[in-house]
């Protein structure tokens, strides 16, 4: 990751935001991201993001749980230490269903949450550059990346016409670093090296 230059604008209304996203993309600007206080249905499509495959990952984790449970219990009760419970068969599948089900759910849930955290790069003590504090309150913050060709004054005027407020330019690190929110540590600036 590296430090880049961004033009940042905030929107108050979903309707204006959708129109702006459409126009910004049409004009060839590169939307870095849109930060919103709550999920906005359809915004990912409008921005041209592909669907997440988190579900698929969840399915794979679930199947792993199922196989773990069945193979472990099966091996323990038929081969490692077969116990005779009132003459019932050693391989008693119906009695194993509850634990198999629970492990399926457990593996799927834990795996998915960890994958979610990994994909979003979130964890305790992870710090990121936040373009606007109001992104978690009441503004939809659109962040447009500046390339060499971008004329910032044009872009800012363009955003203003789309109904954006609080328009400004920020230089920001796009990755994350280890830090605390009560201290203004930006390790990548002090050392001159890029972290993560």
């Amino acid at each position: 990751m590296s430090i880049k230059k961004f033009v940042v604008g905030g929107f108050k209304e979903e309707g204006a935001l959708f129109t702006a996203v459409k126009n910004v993309r049409k004009s060839g600007y590169k939307i870095h991201d849109v930060y919103t206080p709550m999920p906005i249905h359809g915004l990912d499509k409008a921005m041209g993001l592909r669907d997440t495959s988190l579900h698929t990952a969840g399915f794979i984790y679930g199947i792993t749980g199922t196989t773990t449970a069945l193979s472990c219990i099966g091996w323990i009760f038929t081969s490692d230490w077969p116990i005779n419970f009132g003459g019932k068969p050693h391989f008693s599948l119906p009695a194993w269903i509850p634990i198999t089900f629970e492990l399926t759910v457990l593996f799927a849930a834990v795996g998915m949450v960890l994958t979610f955290c990994y994909l979003c790069q979130i964890a305790p003590f992870v710090k990121k550059h936040h373009f606007s504090l109001r992104a978690t309150d009441d503004l939809f913050i659109m962040v447009i990346e500046c390339t060499e060709k971008t004329n910032e004054t044009d872009l800012m005027a363009f955003l203003e016409n789309s109904g954006a407020i609080d328009i400004n330019i920020q230089n920001a690190e796009t990755g994350w670093w280890l830090g605390r929110y009560d201290k203004d540590t930006k390790p990548f600036e002090n050392k001159g090296t890029v972290i993560a």
Partner: protein
């Protein structure tokens, strides 16, 4: 501006008053940013006091053995397992609200789900204490975990419902915690970004995992919530089903019935909603959240209480009918003598159960009663007393006079340490709940904002125009909304 979201005006609003996104943040985060009031401190200290008494009771139990409770050879499960089933049951409403109602796309869940999920987690924490300390030699509790060991290797019995319970409860706790916390992340980020004090920036910064609100993250977050809801739904049904298997797979008259799983699940939801009502009626008042947890929410939850209460009632009567119709002498004795007979030693508990769970909730057929806060609060306590007695009836009246009259143990009364342990879990529960209500947003901020423009009172009023449009006009507008 074209309407982005539409909901008929026939549906009452879920957020009262004139709100915009910022106002929602202000209202819900305000209690966190204010100093704790005197009421909070009093409540918190009482809870901590109870917790300490509970810890001392457990200390006595571990030191002197579970003979400290009045358990004996006949009544091996007394208050202890009653409390376990009671607490697990209470937890169920949280998952029902957060998961099942999410799948059914019930907008009203947004006002109550966060607190209800927190309640689930705390209730399961309390429930877990009972089987653990009931083991007596609690330092060997890890024997329930299957791992290659030096005892043979002797594995745990995977065919036993008691082991299923270990897996069910621990999975339930873990999944509920993940579901709850992943939902909390964006809201904690909101508190973090408003924080002025140093410790708050630190605490909420760490707790919010550096959440930014990126569109891609929200997309994944939505996918995660949906799948977790899909997983939690069968999970919550399985948990109380498995708890009921602890009884249903035995050969004890009164326990050995196939109706137990659905009957337990309905009872769990019933008691859980009652607990949600008790907590939220106080929470909304103290934290001034009446506009978010409206009478509408209370009304809907009371409908669920009367529904599940009636399901439980049908189950009681079915059990009774089958005890007679089955013509099994032992089953008949358990029901007709140990329970229905008011003048048997513990017969009174059966009537408390019937009165509290089946008869009294019927008052909620009346809309006026459903929307009366005093009645609702009173009833929510009554229902939880009733549900405690249900478990007591199932457990104690089934075993205290069993097959062999010489081993009957008629006069079972709990000791102070048995009661103390139960009070201790109340302490644990309320200590956690007080801390939660002080330091965490008790209402899911992002979710309220998500439904605000559809179900907020001031936005609903603007939907009048849409109501008068023709179908074609309306369809056209919705198609081109964005």
């Amino acid at each position: 501006m074209a309407l982005l979201k539409y909901e008929s005006q026939v549906r009452p609003p879920l957020v009262d008053g004139t709100k915009d996104y910022h106002q929602v943040t202000e209202d819900i985060v305000r209690p966190i940013e204010m100093k704790a009031g005197r009421l909070w401190w009093i409540g918190f200290l009482i809870a901590v006091g109870l917790l300490c008494f509970g810890i001392y009771s457990i200390y006595r139990d571990v030191t002197y053995g579970i003979g400290q409770w009045n358990l004996n050879k006949t009544i091996g499960w007394g208050w202890d397992i009653t409390n376990f089933v009671w607490w697990v049951g209470i937890g169920h409403a949280g998952t029902l609200i957060s998961a099942i109602l999410l799948l059914f796309r019930q907008g009203w869940r947004t006002g109550v789900n966060r607190a209800a999920e927190a309640m689930t987690i705390f209730a399961v924490m309390c429930a877990g204490q009972f089987p653990i300390w009931h083991m007596g030699r609690v330092w060997m509790a890890f024997f329930v975990m299957p791992y290659p060991n030096t005892r043979g290797p002797l594995w745990s019995n995977f065919n036993s419902p008691l082991l299923w319970d270990v897996f069910a409860i621990s999975t339930y706790f873990t999944v509920s915690l993940l579901f709850w916390y992943s939902g909390l992340l964006p809201d904690l980020a909101t508190v973090r970004d408003r924080a002025k004090l140093k410790w708050r920036k630190l605490f909420y910064g760490v707790a919010s995992f550096g959440w930014s609100g990126s569109t891609k993250h929200w997309q994944r977050h939505e996918a995660l919530s949906l799948v977790l809801a899909g997983l939690s739904t069968p999970l919550v049904l399985s948990v109380h089903t498995i708890v009921s298997f602890d009884f249903a797979t035995s050969v004890v008259p009164g326990w050995h019935t196939t109706i137990f799983p659905p009957y337990f699940v309905a009872g769990a939801v019933f008691s859980g909603f009652a607990m949600v009502q008790s907590l939220l009626i106080i929470t909304r008042k103290v934290l001034h959240l009446e506009e978010y947890i409206t009478l509408e929410h209370i009304d809907v939850m009371n409908k669920i209480i009367v529904l599940t209460g009636s399901i439980v009632g049908v189950a009681y009567l079915t059990e009774l009918f089958i005890a007679w119709y089955g013509q099994n002498k032992f089953e008949g004795w358990a029901f007709m003598q140990n329970r229905v007979n008011l003048f048997s030693p513990l017969g009174w508990s059966y009537y408390i159960m019937m009165g509290c769970n089946v008869i009294s909730p019927q008052i909620f057929w009346f809309r006026k009663m459903r929307r009366n806060l005093t009645v609702t609060f009173f009833m929510s306590v009554i229902v939880n007393i009733g549900m405690w007695f249900e478990r007591f009836v199932i457990i104690v009246t089934s075993i205290y006079r069993d097959y062999l009259p010489s081993s009957w143990s008629t006069y079972y009364t709990p000791t102070i340490w048995e009661i103390g342990f139960y009070l201790g879990t109340f302490g644990l529960f309320f200590t956690c709940y007080f801390l939660f209500s002080k330091f965490f947003p008790v209402i899911a901020l992002a979710e309220i904002k998500h439904i605000l423009k559809k179900s907020g009172e001031n936005y609903k009023e603007t939907m009048g125009e849409a109501e008068h449009e023709t179908v074609e006009e309306f369809a056209h507008e919705m198609e081109h909304a964005h």
